[in-house]
Symmetry: C2
Subunit: 168 residues, 2 copies
């Protein structure tokens, strides 16, 4: 069971976007450079976030990305689901219907108890990530960081941030 | 994020083994046939369960598998970890140390807040699966099944069950 690197990159990029002033954005290349990862792969994650309505992009000379809603409204689950999909991790193939004692489909009204147990565990995982928003992450980073490091980040942001047109 | 089919198969096979009388076992081929899945792939899952100390096998003419400990002591997490490994699903690659504002390694004493949030969500997932043992699954199957279905299962078991020698 693995969560792709894309989720890590997307959460870091979105956390950075949470620090942007209103109406400003960052290019995919800047977000990739900041995180030391390839631009093409970072762009792929940003497109997935865009498709999920988590970020907005504007094209052209001033093309860039910003969050599409407040950081308090974007959870780590939203980002994980945007990159990995909403489907269950445990996919019940109804093997209880197989073999010499297989149940008839019509008799399988309730989910298999094994699938139900995994479904419940996945709900616990999801609920835990839903409780953590980009606002929480941002606050924790500010609280845990040395002032010099925060100052480095703000200087970098100032040099890379760009105005964004409202037309995507 | 996906959990392999092997986990589904292994949990079903282990639940079946929980119904075996003391000192009796089932061949990998019988467990595969019962669940309508290929023997080679079922055998692979059983080997992983054996390596994790969840099942015992005896070789030779009487070769077969049985649980290595009571069904009350085997959780769905034990089986999941035996098949998928114990490693975290979210693998932090410390991208906070990358790029123009990267932190120095020596300043990263605390885990990244993003990795910590995923670690906490995975703990919730794990704890949920740890709370469900093969004994719970067995009880629920008995409670939810029609008497005819249970009778079919017991007849099948009687025809396939075999004595197991104690020497693995």
């Amino acid at each position: 069971m693995q969560i792709s690197k894309g989720v890590e990159w997307a959460v870091h990029a979105a956390s950075m976007m949470a620090a942007l002033p209103e109406g400003r954005g960052l290019k995919a290349a800047a977000l990739a450079h900041y995180h030391g990862v390839p631009t093409a792969y970072m762009a792929k994650q940003l497109q997935a976030l865009s498709k999920a309505g988590i970020v907005q992009s504007s094209r052209g000379a001033h093309g860039g990305y910003r969050l599409a809603k407040p950081a308090t409204d974007i959870s780590l689950w939203d980002i994980t689901a945007a990159i990995e999909g909403h489907g269950p991790a445990f996919r019940c193939t109804e093997i209880r219907q197989n073999g010499p004692c297989g149940l008839k489909r019509k008799d399988c009204k309730r989910p298999c108890q094994i699938a139900a147990a995994f479904s419940s565990a996945e709900r616990a995982f999801r609920d835990s990530l839903k409780a953590v928003t980009l606002a929480h992450i941002g606050l924790q980073v500010v609280r845990d960081s040395e002032p010099e490091h925060l100052s480095d980040i703000m200087h970098w942001l100032e040099s890379e941030v760009m105005p964004l047109s409202d037309t995507p």
